[in-house]
Symmetry: C2
Subunit: 211 residues, 2 copies
């Protein structure tokens, strides 16, 4: 499983927004909708082995974490507006600490970033090559990191990045505590959704014999 975690520092945690204005009135939910597109869409298919967590920290009820699971998703289309409607449905749900399902493959919880990272790191994966059971690797995408093409990366890594803004110092401290690798994708500062596309391409190539 490939996981992406994106923090939307200002993204609204209520469902009272207009699908005709997904930018200003939502605290830039539009950025996260493009991340969903980048994470899941192949030409004519959906990446079933991928999931994404959107950690929403805007008013009025932060935090809320929306979780999309590729293997279960239905009704997901590539455009921003229809994906915005699915996320709005999730934000209508009454929040508990545990995840509750909104529509197929879309869950919402009241987890914060640190709780989420702890959960993900504690997921044990089985490494075929060595027969070992290991924890998932956390990878922080940031310009100042080491070049992704030179790095060993776990196939089941968790990739963390900021939505509109960089992560805060506190969030970077949490990543440090979880031994995150800091990885750079290239020489220019990119939109979050473009970062996800490049990570997917890099991992696709590593999983293929022909590239």
């Amino acid at each position: 499983m490939r996981s992406f975690v994106i923090i939307g520092h200002r993204v609204k945690t209520s469902s009272d927004f207009n699908l005709n204005d997904l930018c200003a009135s939502t605290g830039r939910l539009d950025i996260l909708l493009r991340c969903i597109n980048a994470a899941f869409f192949l030409s004519g298919d959906i990446r079933r082995d991928t999931e994404i967590y959107l950690v929403l920290l805007g008013e009025p009820e932060p935090p809320k974490t929306v979780h999309l699971v590729g293997s279960e998703l239905k009704y997901l289309n590539p455009d921003e507006r229809s994906t915005g409607a699915l996320i709005r449905n999730a934000l209508m749900k009454e929040i508990k600490n545990e995840e509750i399902r909104s529509t197929p493959g879309i869950y919402v919880s009241g987890k914060n970033f640190e709780e989420l990272l702890k959960d993900l790191e504690n997921q044990i994966i089985y490494l075929k090559e060595t027969g070992e059971d290991i924890r998932r690797e956390i990878v922080y995408l940031k310009e100042e990191g080491e070049d992704v093409r030179q790095m060993d990366l776990q196939n089941d890594a968790v990739f963390v990045l900021g939505g509109q803004k960089d992560l805060t110092e506190d969030e970077e401290e949490i990543l440090k505590k979880h031994n995150a690798k800091t990885v750079s994708l290239g020489p220019v500062k990119l939109h979050a959704s473009h970062c996800i596309t490049i990570v997917n391409n890099e991992m696709d190539r590593r999983n293929s014999k022909h590239f």
Copy 2:
């Protein structure tokens, strides 16, 4: 200058569509709007050295070619809806064979794919390294091509790809006539906008000393 040419085989060539339905009623203009996002947006900036041509072949008045020029663009935002409004403005213009300006950095003409390729290939560029004047290289993005990471590519190359569908046999014949290189980006079939993001990343890296 980096150029992208995307063919929208079914994309409507009139402006009578609704911004609340950018998928079905437009012949999948939404796909091309995401290509515009991928071509131009950096975090907090626009790629000024990039341009994109959208060759629209849907009813009622094909062909129309919409041309966006990074160095002149104003009012471009990353979301699909506002970009859709800019393209709709361009489609309201009366078409001539030569380009006419719609809004800053956005032009529209009645050029077809072959005329456009001829124009682009005839743009002479000066190669600093050797002091030569040369024609621009045409690069066709297709899964069956050679791995992009193994290819020499001109910095001012013209990258051609299909929007919703592959290019037709006739269009591939035109590319052959222009000596296009066929280049693959990875092992899985991707959306057009994701291809553009990966090309931009690949070329960014080649233009940097640190990657």
